[in-house]
């Protein structure tokens, strides 16, 4: 069983990283689009009220300071708050936030377990009674992240189907897959919660498991912990088939669509790229569009009926 766990876990991690990477690469590979920015743009100097560099005369002659750090912080912090939901649908937020915190913290918990295992192989004791302060802090953080993951995830997985059925708007767009997900995630978080409460209050089983993974030594674990770990591995394999990549793509969308206010300055690399895109051939069939011609040719033609006739 221990060997199976090791193989399954490695496969699950490689799989999720590979599929997520593929999805992100596919997203990024799409061609540059027309500007479609939406304010406030958080890296802008006047982001507080939604102001842009267009508020200045001859903006192209002025510096355009960008605070990318602020944008990054803004896009990440909302994962832990979900402010718009709090403002607009508080009951939904009550379940949605813990459900999402379950996702974030269970991943964080396992990443921390990995580092804990590395530290343990170097002799660090991770426990409440560890002689090392680092070991005590590590223990506390693991307990906190694991606890939030199991409690939040379980609470959210129970509440989400209820709110999904109770709210008219959500119900209209609900699909069987949503309810399958809630049930499956309940198994994942709930098994972790039960194992934690009933069998493994210090979450030591996970450290043992991760030491086994790091040292490639099949671990001996409690059946409850094994069940949860298998569930979690399947969860990792299943996630890429859901919309979960939105944890990453939402940030990409903020940076590369909503906040993309980069102007096309004469002689810039962007201008060259646009010239390339304008050479692509379009095949729209509206009567006013010269199908088979390039965008540049279509834009410089009038599309008026007589013109089409003349060309024919």
């Amino acid at each position: 069983m221990g060997t199976l766990l090791i193989v399954l876990t490695y496969f699950a991690y490689v799989f999720i990283v590979a599929v997520y990477a593929f999805k992100v690469a596919k997203w990024m590979r799409m061609p540059m689009h027309i500007r479609w920015d939406l304010y406030p743009v958080i890296h802008e100097e006047h982001y507080r009220y939604g102001g842009s560099y267009y508020e200045q005369q001859e903006w192209w002659t002025k510096p355009r300071p960008k605070n990318t750090g602020r944008s990054l912080w803004y896009s990440l912090k909302d994962n832990f708050y979900m402010g718009e939901y709090y403002k607009r649908n508080r009951l939904y937020w009550l379940f949605l936030l813990p459900w999402h915190l379950g996702f974030i913290f269970i991943i964080l918990f396992h990443i921390l377990c990995f580092f804990a295992a590395i530290s343990m192989t170097f002799g660090l004791t991770i426990a409440a009674a560890s002689p090392s302060l680092t070991g005590k802090i590590f223990y506390g953080i693991l307990l906190l992240t694991g606890g939030i993951a199991f409690v939040g995830g379980t609470f959210g997985s129970v509440g989400m189907p209820i709110i999904k059925l109770a709210d008219r708007g959500l119900r209209t767009y609900a699909m069987p897959m949503n309810f399958f997900n809630y049930l499956f995630f309940l198994l994942v978080y709930g098994s972790g919660l039960l194992s934690w409460i009933l069998i493994d209050p210090t979450l030591a089983e996970y450290r043992t498991y991760w030491v086994g993974l790091v040292t490639l030594t099949p671990p001996e674990l409690n059946p409850a912990a094994i069940f949860h770990i298998i569930m979690f591995d399947i969860f990792l394999i299943y996630l890429p088939f859901t919309r979960s990549t939105h944890y990453i793509t939402r940030i990409l969308a903020y940076f590369f669509i909503r906040w993309d206010d980069e102007p096309n300055l004469p002689g810039s690399a962007m201008e060259k790229q646009i010239n390339g895109l304008l050479q692509q051939k379009l095949s729209w069939e509206g009567a006013h569009i010269p199908s088979g011609k390039s965008w540049a040719e279509a834009a410089t033609s009038s599309g008026l009926p007589e013109t089409k006739k003349d060309k024919a």
Binding site: W27, P31, M32, H33, I34, R35, W36, D37, L38, Y39, E44, H46, G50, S52, Y54, E55, Q57, E58, D78, M82, E84, Y85, R88, N89, L96, G169, L170, Y173, A174, M175, M177, R243, H246, T249, R250, L252, A253, I257, R258, P263, N264, L265, E271, N275, L278, Q280, K281, L282, S283, W284, E285, G286, I289, A298, A299, T300, S301, S302, G303, L304
Partner: protein, 534 residues
């Protein structure tokens, strides 16, 4: 009343998917809560024979149902072919990434619904949820483009039965969203259901050749053909400018020659040509202000060079690019240093922002809004202004294209704070403003009963907001001014105020920003704003 609508209703042959009942609409403040007339007139039998109105009893495009099963098959195939093209880089590099992102990552959480003024004002009609169009499109893609396994489709609830009426209803639904993008602003996942609206309009126009005639045939096509969507030709422009010069002299005693085709001028000023015809006082005020401030500017008489509108921004990328190119060519021909956009929101967004990734080389001429220039004139003290001349209640409408979609928020406020002692904000305002209800071409769409819908539903939130801003002075005895620095928004205000008789009932007038500046100029003997309802 069929308020609870599901996506299956869109596939149901015959009948209406939803009905707009005046009793359900968002309440308005008194005395407008007492208006007894039905909000939306029924289409005539003749109209119903010619166009399908089975979405909500309203026709913006007015598409005829195919007469035979063969015609229906061709109609559906054409739509599906267009839908496929949306996902190819060659045909849709312009919006592929935001389109794919929204379709793949929206979780349909409905947060955007509560941000949509049309949905709220309609009394929360399900069909107007911003997610509705995207979800129908998503299901068509799953069933007819990707042809996903039926079991998977059941699991994902992505099945849909397609018939001509489903497509027509979807097309009409794409013209029930003003593209204000308030929905996108609140989306935590960066999805944009307003963009989906525009992409659906693109399939209809670019592939099927279907669009509201005011926007396409009488709009962008007319502009490319004769120079302006208003039908104004270059010789007609000359006549109108002469009239405007006479008007200026009559009102102010000033003899101002409006510069036309002045080679090498600093600024090419692009106005929405609707101003020339409907609100010439706006152009007059620009001429008076620029003359007083010693600005080196010109108007172009070239094809489309005197009409800033670019309706393509609402429905068609190719038409958009054509008009943007004509604007840039007019500026290039005159050798101006920059293009400045007058008070027209969509023209701002179209020419300054969206055309930015269309115009290259010597057509990539610097472009900016005229509002920061107006701010500079006002705040610099170049001209003498007396705020007491504007001592009446003033509120500001934020045109979506200029504010939420471009971030021009404060210059107009700094002007108003300087020259209007009774300036007050609407709630909410700035980038969180509500659309006037006439966005994305609605203000110019006059077909059938669409204007009733526009005044009753899409403009309702703005009307309420405007009335609320003046709730301390509700009666008609105190004249009030809504400053709407956008032709389209002014058009919507005019229609909506006429519909509800707002001028008579509440004494609220609408107009631009530059008129308020000129009204405060001390060297004018008479007030520039004449409070004549038109």
């Amino acid at each position: 009343m069929t308020r609870k609508t599901t996506i299956k209703d869109f596939s149901r042959p015959g009948g209406q998917v939803a009905e707009i009942d005046s009793a359900d609409l968002m309440p308005l403040p008194p005395p407008y809560d007492q208006i007894a007339k039905p909000p939306i007139r029924k289409l005539t039998e003749d109209q119903l024979r010619r166009m399908d109105a089975s979405l909500d009893g309203v026709a913006a495009i007015g598409i005829a149902l195919p007469a035979t099963p063969e015609e229906e098959k061709i109609f559906i195939e054409k739509f599906l072919a267009g839908l496929e093209k949306l996902f190819t880089a060659e045909n849709n590099w312009t919006f592929l990434q935001p389109l794919v992102h929204t379709l793949e990552y929206c979780v349909k959480c409905q947060i955007c619904s509560d941000a949509c003024p049309t949905y709220l004002a309609s009394g929360r009609q399900d069909i107007y949820r911003p997610t509705m169009r995207a979800e129908i499109l998503r299901r068509i893609i799953s069933t007819y483009i990707k042809k996903e396994n039926p079991l998977l489709r059941k699991f994902k609830a992505s099945d849909i039965q397609l018939n001509a009426q489903t497509i027509i209803r979807l097309g009409e639904l794409a013209y029930r969203c003003t593209l204000c993008r308030r929905c996108a602003q609140v989306c935590l996942l960066g999805c944009d259901n307003a963009l989906i609206t525009r992409e659906i309009r693109k399939i209809f126009s670019q592939q099927m050749g279907i669009a509201p005639k005011e926007i396409h045939e009488k709009g962008s096509v007319h502009q490319i053909k004769v120079g302006s969507s208003t039908g104004m030709t270059p010789p007609a422009l000359t006549n109108i400018l002469e009239f405007i010069e006479e008007e200026i002299e009559e009102k102010t005693g000033k003899k101002i020659k409006i510069p036309v085709d002045k080679k090498g001028a600093e600024i090419l000023l692009l106005h929405n040509a609707g101003e020339f015809i409907a609100w010439p006082e706006n152009l007059e005020a620009f001429a008076i202000l620029f003359d007083a401030a010693g600005i080196d500017w010109t108007i172009s008489s070239d094809l489309a060079g005197y009409d800033a509108v670019n309706y393509g921004v609402w429905y068609d990328d190719v038409q958009f690019a054509r008009v943007a190119l004509l604007h840039a060519q007019a500026a290039k021909k005159l050798g101006v240093r920059k293009i400045s956009l007058g008070e027209c929101g969509h023209a701002h967004k179209a020419m300054i922002v969206i055309a930015d990734r269309i115009l290259t080389g010597d057509l990539n001429i610097p472009r900016e809004s005229a509002i920061p220039l107006m701010e500079e004139i006002v705040l610099s003290g170049k001209i003498k202004l007396d705020p007491s001349r504007n001592n009446f209640p003033v509120t500001l409408h934020d045109p979506c294209n200029m504010v939420r979609l471009m971030g021009i928020v404060q210059p107009q406020r700094r002007i108003l704070e300087k020259i209007c002692p009774q300036f007050r904000e609407m709630t909410p305002h700035g980038v969180e403003n509500y659309c006037c209800g006439g966005g994305s071409g609605f203000a110019i769409t006059q077909s059938t009963n669409f204007p009733d819908w526009r005044s009753s539903v899409s403009g309702r939130m703005k009307l309420k907001q405007t009335l609320d801003a003046f709730q301390d002075v509700p009666g008609p005895e105190i004249k009030k001014y809504v400053c709407a620095p956008c032709s389209n928004c002014k058009g919507q205000y005019r229609e909506m105020f006429n519909y509800y008789d707002v001028w008579k009932k509440s004494g609220i007038f609408y107009g631009g920003l530059v008129e308020l500046i000129v009204n405060a100029m001390t060297d004018l003997k008479e007030p520039f704003i004449q409070w004549e309802w038109h």
